[in-house]
Symmetry: C2
Subunit: 648 residues, 2 copies
Amino acid sequence: MKKERCHIKFLPEDKSVEVKSGTTILEAAHIAGVYINSACGGDHICGKCRVKIKKGHVNSPPTNLLSLSDIKSGYVLACQAQVTSDAVAEIPAEASPGQAKIVVDGKQPLYSRIEGMQSTEQLEKKLVFETSPLVRKIFLKLPQPDRQNNISDLERIYREIRKVDDIKIMQTGLKVIREIASLVRNSNWEITVTLGRRNGTTEVIQVEPGDTSSGNFGVAVDVGTTTVVASLVNLNTGEVLGAKGTYNKQISYGEDVISRIIYASEKTGLERLELAVVENINSLIESLASADNLKLSDITAVQCAGNTTMTHLLMGIMPDFIRRDPYVPAATCIPAIRAAEVGIRINPRGILSCVPGVASYVGGDVVAGVLASGMAESDELSLFIDMGTNGELVLGNREWFTCCACSAGPAFEGSGIKSGMRARNGAIEKIDIRKNLEPEFTVIGNVRPHGICGAGLLDLMGEMLARGIIDRAGQISRTSKNPRIRKGEAGFEYVLVWKKDSDGESDIAVTQSDIDNLIKAKAAIYAGAAIMLKRMNFSFDRVMHYYIGGAFGAHLDIEKAIRFGLLPDLKRDSFLYLGNSSLTGARQCLLSQEAREKVHRFARMMTSFELSIEPGYMEEYVAAFFLPHTDLTKFPTVKAESGAGVTG
Amino acid sequence: MKKERCHIKFLPEDKSVEVKSGTTILEAAHIAGVYINSACGGDHICGKCRVKIKKGHVNSPPTNLLSLSDIKSGYVLACQAQVTSDAVAEIPAEASPGQAKIVVDGKQPLYSRIEGMQSTEQLEKKLVFETSPLVRKIFLKLPQPDRQNNISDLERIYREIRKVDDIKIMQTGLKVIREIASLVRNSNWEITVTLGRRNGTTEVIQVEPGDTSSGNFGVAVDVGTTTVVASLVNLNTGEVLGAKGTYNKQISYGEDVISRIIYASEKTGLERLELAVVENINSLIESLASADNLKLSDITAVQCAGNTTMTHLLMGIMPDFIRRDPYVPAATCIPAIRAAEVGIRINPRGILSCVPGVASYVGGDVVAGVLASGMAESDELSLFIDMGTNGELVLGNREWFTCCACSAGPAFEGSGIKSGMRARNGAIEKIDIRKNLEPEFTVIGNVRPHGICGAGLLDLMGEMLARGIIDRAGQISRTSKNPRIRKGEAGFEYVLVWKKDSDGESDIAVTQSDIDNLIKAKAAIYAGAAIMLKRMNFSFDRVMHYYIGGAFGAHLDIEKAIRFGLLPDLKRDSFLYLGNSSLTGARQCLLSQEAREKVHRFARMMTSFELSIEPGYMEEYVAAFFLPHTDLTKFPTVKAESGAGVTG
């Protein structure tokens, strides 16, 4: 019998909710505050929101987004299945963006180096900023007033601050002024002032009795479309105390920026998206602070870097026009505010600042990456390739920058790839394929494999090509007798891990469709770079430094990226993998006034252009569909060693 | 029979309250929100809080602060009388700070001139500030975005603003940024931005659709200890649309700054004082706005000038240490805030700014007066004398300023003077005494006289001396047979108006005690000026310009002020009476960035010293107890015409 109200329990979080009969599982999850990965935003397209009904009945229409074995095991799509009775739904690991461990490099040195890199010292030099954190604390012993020196308490404080640093425009909110008279007297004229830099002025954001100057911490946050990664920094020393990452809870409202923008336009959508990412940041901060036994009130600054849509959503700004021609954001440079204004729980008067962006599809994360790369410090030409959920390119040097976004999609983050996953525990990250087509691989966290991350996918492409599993067009061999090459439900595939060796309920395989997606992604980036260079009348070899930032995790195998045709075939020491350059740049802004001034200058300098309407783009794109490229002369070292067929 | 709860009605306001038996009338009035003048703050000292019990019984102890006729008529002191039954209490006009009409000069030209003044043109020149109001509105037709020009909406707005004015640091609050994307599109890219100048930066405080630039008004307020006076200004044209004044409602908690500071330290005292003056300002603004049919939301700025204690109280800052040695205020320069932050009802994002002060007893009202005088524009030496509730002196020129406060007391505002009153309707302001000692006088508002205002008291002193009613020591003649000179309840007095000709219930007379108070006040100012000059090695005649600001109302008779010994005996065209110079200065700050920068510069330039501990001050003070002075050679023109005895 159909019930009016149904009680739905979600596992493994063990959260329950009562909803009207007919409500979808996805809606019920939203109401319960349980996050289910629904990449397409609930439009029955992506098939990512599969959940297993362990108890009770749901009304689930037929779909080709679930395999037969899934359906037999009780899986339904959360966006389609309507509850008709009390039920228990289990969210499988891949649909839960929950507490998975993200590989973060926040604790690593500012550069993650790989073999054969350009001079380390040269790069370190670029990173020497004076220490002038976004918020700093200064301990002051105020001279006591007498009749000859009876200036106001506030002016007395200003005067002592100016002895330490000649600050021109200084201001203080009424709340602080109201406290100071009794505070300075009760603390025997020994106080600690907290100074925040905001929008060209310095604000006394807090006055505390005694010497509390040692308790001054900040958090740098990379607000990514897929992951949110934070590092906790001692603002007095610059030391990184810890770093943590989590999936962006907004994923349950849509996997990419476009579906989030659409969701934001719905009733309460913007609010929910803002809340989701703020919850992400709060839980990262809480967990980082508790690991170091810090009070939240000792955290005085949060410096975020994110793409333009993420920044809008964090600030509660409707991003609607970002997706509409001519792609105009509401704001690219958002003034620093009190973190509490958006609900971030640090010191109630602490500051939240976002790295400024350039345009709708070139955001503060890219500007932060440009800062982290140090490319603006050199007269030599550099190309920065940011491979996050999308791909962005910046070309330039000390004098100028041009930039654009590529429609690369999130394939290198494992999205749109059947067995793809982000670089976290259980992800295969390094692969060798032997002649008999048996693979050897390493798994992050040394656990049973669950899927393949971006770096693993790159490895896999290179190995499959080398072993003839795929040809230069990316086509899986249809003639092999090897059992690892088979025709699956959705065409030919190569099985990397048999079900019995995996931690899941199916084989880990890469399909023809996966390969096509990866090729399209690499082609978009390669073609984008080629067109960008052409537009400025340069060739690939005129670029002295290639900086790569992105979601590959800790490592990127440059050799394999070239063999796949993602990167041009140049001297290997032209390339430097920066890791999470957005986080690195945010950390620099947290620590240095010079860095903050630089990102504002860069954001103004960077001229953005629309790649898709550039003449010749389509031709370049299609020409890059081959591995490494249609025109092998562009990849001389790859050409020299190519030619192996299927041997297994 | 004694009641538990008593119902008390206050006339003429017709407000009622129920209080516990035993509550004083003054407390009951506070609870009812009815204001009774209680100069001493309820300490049974001043006798100002007399009220007439029209019905019911109160428990009132004996007091010598009420005359026998008062007691017979049913008067009690509100601070002493405890209610024991339901009662009706009438607050006489002099104890009610209510809706009395204050003479304001806000609508007059920036200078109120008197005969024989220095070059008018020269002074006008000093006042030519460029028009750059505290808040301004600019109508913008934004160029519509296309793919070649798709900068963010906010940057597009900034860019157009910068075409009008090259503003360096510009910021915008999140609230405004959240609105702009839909707003600019719904208004066909025609918008009006409201720009506020705050603490060295320019803030976009509001964006409205269409052209609303004509609706931009501001209010200048002189927040005096005794009166609060406001003028409404069109911020586009500088035109003054109206001006109104009222008594400071704080008077019911104490007449002078010291008693208010003491009251502020009591439980909820600070809150009540803040609320009282904010209510003053709100009611003035509402009344000014409704007279011109303006919406409150079209008022975008309030510029106040007040002494340091008034500024603290308006901002809700505890002023406690102002009255404690070494007299340190919490802040003299308070950053501009949103007016709504203290409850001032204008545009919710409108700005409140206060003219910065110098020290505990040299406040923003004095700095505003220095600005209004134009004395900083000249190389010649000037002395500014601000006679408000207290007296302040500023000596200097373009290069330097020194300043101090005199303990002159509020005698020239009519306070501490039996028949004294402020310059409002019913106040005698000009007096001639004929040979037979019969007076002729003019009354403000052409009504029956009620008391004598500051300018009237000055006139009276000069005339009484000229007619021999008082001698050079200020002693009333004890030998005259004239019926107007008599021994009253509190010593000798001169009767200016007989009860039958007045609007009150007693004769209007000036007593020996009144004369002594006025002499002490003028002696404090004269001695202060003399010591200040001596300290800087100047004599009175080295000062080229004497500027007088203060509470005398529309006019000050310089001749009589000199004869009384308040001002030095110099060429009459050295003197310029500025009227309410605090309001004039506030108005200039409302309208001009140059003026705002100047007051900050002046406040920093002005070095304040403590008069009472200066060597020789006491001697100078006592020497000035004579009329005009002990040393008649200092007043040659007065000496030449003096010598008349009592002739009536």
